[in-house]
Symmetry: none
DNA sequence: TACCATTTGTCCGTATGTATG
DNA sequence: CCATACATACGGACAAATGGT
């Protein structure tokens, strides 16, 4: 899954992996994505790397974060450029 | 009613549910809202979560609490910005 | 008087998750 | 990595207030 030796930054690889799971319907809207600690376990990266990946997903508008609760897949039309 | 897996904090969902019942006229002014223990039963949350929801309703000026008696829907003009 | 049931108030601890240094 | 802080959520235990028997 994650290539620790390749040129692509780890946090991008993790973000892309989560994005793929969202696109595949493995992670559903309004449902939690793996926590920071779970990403550390599952992808073998540092917590800071997991946080960077989540930050990237936030910037893409794919997820939302609620302090004290977790990070969730954004609802259907929560994209930055909402269609109308 | 309450989405235990969603991103919205449970105490907010409970507060919104009670607010909806007040707006719908299901809970009338000067009449009690469900007790903390009833909320625990009806919504499947912890008592601390029910208390936080009630605290939120108090902050909104929608209800008033009497120790040993219960929490009641605020009378008509008991809003935070009372007219005149 | 004394009891009792109900309800709110307050404290304890545990767990999880994010935010920050 | 680690520690700290904050927010959410759960569970238990006991006190205080209220109203009725």
């Amino acid at each position: 899954m994650i290539d620790h030796e390749g040129p692509t930054p780890l946090y991008m690889q993790v973000a892309d992996a989560i994005t793929a799971r969202i696109d595949a319907g493995d992670l559903l809207p309004n449902r939690p994505i793996p926590s920071e600690n779970q990403m550390v376990q599952e992808y073998g990266v540092a917590r800071g790397t997991a946080r960077k990946a989540i930050q990237l997903l936030r910037d893409r508008g794919l997820v939302i974060t609620v302090v004290g609760r977790g990070t969730y897949v954004a609802a259907a039309n929560d994209g930055p450029t909402s269609a109308r």
